[in-house]
Amino acid sequence: MRYIAWILSVLVAVTLFLFQKVEGGPAEVTLVHTSNVTGHLFPCPS
């Protein structure tokens, strides 16, 4: 019984790994940039 559980857990892990590789798609990253804030805690009206 313990072996079956072990085999199943390995199978699930491998499947998840493969699924991630195939369906992963492009990576998305967002960069948020500030500059010259110069001590302004409250934004100047834009």
Partner: protein
């Protein structure tokens, strides 16, 4: 930012310099320090990943910055060195691994201070700093980082002209975030394969760069170019309609020539648009936008509380 993070998109907050202080002569140093400490706290709260040291950040001395760094603010500079050991005073770069992509940020400041801060700077940091040539520092950084990471980004307090010169001399930098001049760029500047961005000043706007990375080794395409081309075509169409109406009422050879020129221009833009939005590209994409920080955005209650506790009034 919180919305993007909640949707599962990794968000990296960066600042390219001159975060803490301004040059005004009549600033109460205690009040300026209190505000600077709050700004440092707010950037830590936003989990900023890299904050470049700009020349104005040195106005209250190194001790303030060292304290901020010791409290967890990720201050970086690749060319701000200790004059005796010639080693960086702060980390020269940071590396972030997000969605399997390794991104390095390094920072640079200009060795030529603005005339209005040269004197106060001598008093606060004097002989305690040495600023290395930015091009040399950038060459060292790219050499060191290019085999370790997928992308190299520069946070720059150099100014637009110097950034162009640097990027020409040092290939291998993907993006440059700059802006000591306080201007904003609705569309990025480009030098070779490097794109350069600026996000205004005084917290009026933040720049948002959304990256879609298929293969970090390949060049990036500017997604905003499609909407800009569509806008150009719409403008030309409007102009064309006006001229055609005019021509229908009273034919004029000069107007006919202008119509022909606009039609050629439109065809050129349409061809560019067709090429750009045709077959799905294997390249990486980015979309750059400037987001105004105005009263419609909700405030972070904790940070609002810190400001009230400190008794700091609006600027």
């Amino acid at each position: 930012m919180e919305k993007d993070r909640a949707e599962g998109t990794p968000v990296l907050v960066v600042d390219s310099g001159d975060l803490f202080f301004m040059t005004k002569a009549k600033v109460d140093p205690e009040k300026a320090s209190a505000k600077a400490r709050l700004i440092g706290r707010a950037y830590r709260r936003m989990a900023a990943v890299a904050v470049n040291v700009g020349d104005l950040d040195l106005l209250q001395g190194l001790d303030f910055l060292r304290k901020e760094a010791s409290q967890g603010l990720p201050l970086i500079s690749a060319n701000l060195l200790d004059p005796s050991s010639r080693t960086p005073i702060f980390d020269p770069y940071v590396i972030q691994k997000v969605s399997g992509i390794r991104i390095a940020f390094f920072g640079l400041l200009s060795p030529n201070f603005q005339p209005e801060i040269a004197d106060p700077m001598r008093k606060t940091v004097g002989e305690r700093i040495f600023i290395k040539d930015p091009v040399e520092a950038a060459q060292e950084m790219v050499l060191k980082l290019r085999d370790k990471v997928d992308m190299i980004l520069l946070l720059s307090d150099l100014g637009n002209y110097r950034e162009h010169e640097l990027v020409k001399a040092v290939p291998g930098i993907h993006f440059v975030f700059g802006g000591p001049e306080g201007r904003g760029l609705a569309q990025p500047n480009r030098e070779g394969k490097t794109y350069m961005f600026q996000s205004y000043a005084k917290g009026m706007y933040v720049g948002k760069l959304r990256l879609t990375i298929k293969n970090p080794g390949l060049p990036f395409q500017d997604e905003g170019r499609v909407s800009r081309l569509q806008g150009e075509i719409r403008n030309l169409d409007r102009h064309l309609q006006d001229l055609q109406k005019q021509q229908a009422g009273q034919p004029n050879p000069e107007v006919a020539q202008r119509i022909q020129w606009i039609q050629q221009q439109k065809a050129r833009f349409q061809e560019q648009l067709r090429q750009f939005s045709g077959a799905p590209s294997q390249e990486n994409h980015f979309l750059w936008t400037l987001e105004p920080l105005n009263a419609s955005l909700s405030e972070d209650e904790d940070i609002k509380g810190w400001i009230q506790e400190a008794g700091i009034d609006p600027d």
